[in-house]
Amino acid sequence: MAVQKLPLAKALNESLRKALETDPKVLIMGLDVGKLGGVFRITDGLQKDFGEDRVIDTPLAESGIVGTAIGLALRGYRPVVEIQFDGFVFPAYDQIVSQLAKMRARSLGTVKMPIVIRIPYGGGIGAVEHHSESPESLFAHVAGLKVVTPANSNDAYWMLQQAIQSDDPVIFFEPKRRYWDKGEVDTEAIPGELHKARVAREGTDLTLVGYGPMVKTCLEVAEAAAEEGKSIEVVDLRSISPLDFDTVQASVEKTGRLVVVHEAPVFFGSGAEIAARITERCFYHLEAPVLRVGGYHAPYPPARLEEEYLPGLDRVLDAVDRSLAY
C-alpha cells in the first residue's frame, strides 16, 4: 500500500524503520530510545526488531551522545541521535557547534559527518520548562549545519530519510504538538528536494511564511481570512538552513505582502533573516513592510500562559490586517 494515513509520529517511526532496513550503517542513539521507544514513541519497536547494537540506549548525557556519534561517524556509521526535548540540547551544543559543524572544513573536506540530530521542539503541549522551546535559529546561524523541520506526515516520512542520507550534519526539528496529527503518507512517490520550500496554499493578497508547527496555524489563518474575502498564500519553508528564498520571493512578488510566523522569539529569529533578505530581493514588489509574529523576548512561559506567548490564529490575523492596511 503506497498511500496510508498516519500520525506524524508514526510516519517518523516508519521512516526510521526504512532507514535501518536500507543501510546497515544507520544507528539510532539516545536516551530511552530502546525499550521505551522514546518518550514520544518515535522509535517504538525498533530495538525489538533491529537489536541493541542498532538502536542504542545511551547514558543520560547529551554531550556524550553527540560526541560519541561524531566518533561513530568517523568510523563510517550514520548515527541518528535523539535529543529528548528542545531545552535539553544545550549540554550538547558545544559538540554540535564547535565540533560537528566544523569537522568537514577542518579536515579540508576529507571527512563526512552524516549525523542527524532529532529534536522534538516547540510548545503547545502544556509541558514544564525546557520542554517547549524553539532554538532553530541558534543552529541555523552556524555554518556547517543544516536545519530542517517537517510540518506534515508525508514530509516527516521522507525528509527524515533524506536527512539520514545526507553526508552533512542535519538538525531535524520535529513539531511535537503535531505528532498526533494524521496525514497521508505516500511511501512510493519520489519526494522533492529536502531543502525546497512548498506552497501549501495558493493565494493572491498576502504571503504567510511558516514552518514546522506553525504551518497548520498559517493554514487555519488563511481559511479564516478567506471567509473575510482575503486570499492568502501559505509557504511551508520545510528547511531553515539552507532556506529557499526563491520560493518565498516568487510568492511575495505575486502578493506584495509578507508575514512570517514562528514560535521562537522574534528578536534575532529566522523571521528577521527572511524579512531582511526578502526586502533586499523584492523591495519594489512590497506593498507593506515585512511583519513578524512569534514568541517574546522572555523565557518560555509556564504552560498556563503559553497560549498567550505562542502565535495563534488571532495574533497572526492581526498581523495580516496590519499588513493589508498599508
Binding site: 547514558p59 561524531i70 566518533g71 579536515s107 563526512k112
Partner: protein, 397 residues
C-alpha cells in the same frame, strides 16, 4: 575484572609503607608537600628508568627492548624536541601565530605513541606533536593551523591520527564513539585519546569515561598531567590523583612516570592489549611536566617558580635515556653525532616548508563547509567572487 586496578592496590600498599619502586625525586616531594594533601601524596609511579638513568624492574610492566629499539625511542624524542624548538623559534620570528610546546613531554608521547599499532586510532589534543611523529604524520602538517593557513589541515584517516582538538576534552568523546564503532565492527584495534590535567575537569572527559565503561569500548585514555593548565596548578583541578578517578567509573587507572619513555611504552602497550582483548578502557596518567609555557602567548614566570622547573629538569626524559644507553653501551658516539646532523636537517626542513606555506586562495573560505552543498554558501561565494573581481581591474595583471 575487578574495579580496583593493580595500580590502585599498589597505592594502598605504599600508604602502608611498602615502597616497591623508585619514586619521584626528593625535591619534588618536598615541593608538593605545600600543596593540597590529596594531590601531594605522590602515589607510586610505574617507573622502569630512574631520573639517573638506572634501569629498574616493575612486576607488572616488564619490557625487554633491543639496543636498536632503544636508539629508536631516543631518536624519536630528540627529533620531536628539535621540531618543537624550531616551531617555537618560528613563532618568535613571527612565522607562526602561536605554538603549544611539548618540551618535557617527549617520553610520555613517544612512549605511548610507539605502543600503537598502525590500525589503532589516535585522538589528540593540540600538543601531541610527538605522537603525530610516531604516526608518520608529516610534522609540517601540524604547523598549518598555527601559521593560520588552515584549521586542521589533514585527512585523519591517512595515518589514523585525528585532527588537533582545541576545545578541551571534546576529542575524548570522539575517541569513545570511534572505539564503540571498532567494537561493533568486530575489529581488534584500539583507540587512544590524549588530554591534559586541565581537560580532566571537563564534563566531556567524564562523559567519555561513562560511555566507554558502559559500552566496554576499546579505548585508552592517556592523560598527560603536566601539572599546569595555563596558570592553574593541578590542585585547582583535583583533590585526588587523576588516575584514581578511573575506579569510580569502573575501569583501571594507572600512574606512570611520564618522563620515562620505557615505562610509558610498557604501560600503554599493556592498556592497548587489554582494550584489544575486549576488556574495556584504561586511564593512564602520565605524570610529567610542561617545561615551557602553555603556549607562546603566556609567561610562566608570572605563575610558577624557577625552582620547580629546575627540579623537573633533573628528570629530563631524553637525558635519562641517554645516560642509560651510554652506560650500557647501547649507542656509540657516532650514533649521537649522526642524530645531531639529522636533527639540524629536520629543523632546516621545517623552517623552509613553513616559510613557503602559501596563503590559501581567497575562495577557500567557502570550501568544504558542506558535503552536499548549501544554497547560501553558493550565493555568498558568488558575491565574494564578484567583489574580488571588482578590484582586479580587468585581470590585466
Amino acid at each position: 575484572m575487578t574495579v580496583e586496578s593493580t595500580a590502585a592496590r599498589k597505592t594502598t600498599r605504599r600508604s602502608s609503607g611498602t615502597k616497591r619502586t623508585a619514586s619521584a625525586s626528593t625535591s619534588t616531594t618536598k615541593k608538593t608537600s605545600t600543596r593540597a594533601e590529596a594531590v601531594a601524596t605522590e602515589p607510586e609511579l610505574v617507573q622502569l628508568l630512574t631520573p639517573e638513568g638506572e634501569r629498574v624492574q616493575h612486576p607488572d610492566y616488564d619490557i625487554d627492548l633491543s639496543a636498536e629499539e632503544l636508539r629508536g625511542l631516543y631518536r624519536d624524542m630528540v627529533l620531536s624536541r628539535r621540531f618543537d624548538a624550531e616551531a617555537t623559534a618560528l613563532q618568535r620570528q613571527g612565522e607562526l601565530g602561536l605554538w603549544a610546546s611539548l618540551l618535557g613531554q617527549e617520553a610520555a608521547q613517544i612512549g605511548s605513541g610507539r605502543a600503537l599499532r598502525d590500525d589503532d586510532y589516535v585522538f589528540p589534543t593540540y600538543r601531541e606533536h610527538a605522537v603525530a611523529w610516531c604516526r608518520g604524520v608529516d610534522p609540517t602538517n601540524l604547523l598549518g593551523m598555527f601559521r593560520g593557513v588552515n584549521n586542521g589541515g589533514w585527512d585523519p584517516s591517512t595515518n589514523n591520527f585525528h585532527l588537533y582538538t582545541i576545545v578541551l576534552g571534546s576529542q575524548t568523546l570522539h575517541a569513545t564513539g570511534y572505539a564503540m564503532g571498532v567494537a561493533k565492527d568486530g575489529a581488534d584495534s584500539a583507540v587512544i585519546a590524549y588530554f591534559g590535567d586541565g581537560a580532566s575537569s571537563q564534563g566531556d572527559v567524564n562523559e567519555s569515561f561513562v560511555f566507554s565503561a558502559v559500552y566496554n569500548a576499546p579505548v585508552v585514555f592517556f592523560c598527560q598531567n603536566n601539572q599546569w593548565a595555563i596558570s592553574e596548578p593541578i590542585e585547582k583541578q583535583t583533590r585526588v590523583p587523576l588516575y584514581q578517578r578511573a575506579a569510580g567509573f569502573g575501569f583501571p587507572g594507572v600512574r606512570v612516570d611520564g618522563n620515562d619513555v620505557l615505562a610509558c611504552l610498557a604501560v600503554t602497550r599493556s592498556a592497548l592489549e587489554r582494550a584489544r582483548r575486549g576488556e574495556g578502557p584504561t586511564l593512564i596518567e602520565a605524570y610529567t611536566y610542561r617545561m615551557a609555557a602553555h603556549t607562546t602567548s603566556d609567561d610562566p614566570t608570572k605563575y610558577r617558580r624557577d625552582e620547580e622547573r629546575e627540579a623537573w629538569e633533573a628528570k629530563d626524559p631524553i637525558q635519562r635515556l641517554k645516560t642509560y644507553m651510554e652506560n650500557e653501551g647501547h649507542a656509540d658516539a657516532a650514533f649521537f653525532e649522526e642524530l645531531e646532523t639529522e636533527s639540524e636537517a629536520l629543523g632546516k626542513h621545517v623552517r623552509e616548508v613553513v616559510r613557503a606555506m602559501p596563503v590559501p586562495e581567497h575562495m577557500a573560505i567557502f570550501d568544504n563547509v558542506y558535503a552536499d552543498g548549501h544554497a547560501l554558501v553558493d550565493e555568498e561565494r558568488a558575491q565574494f567572487a564578484a567583489y574580488q573581481a571588482s578590484f582586479e581591474g580587468g585581470e590585466a595583471e
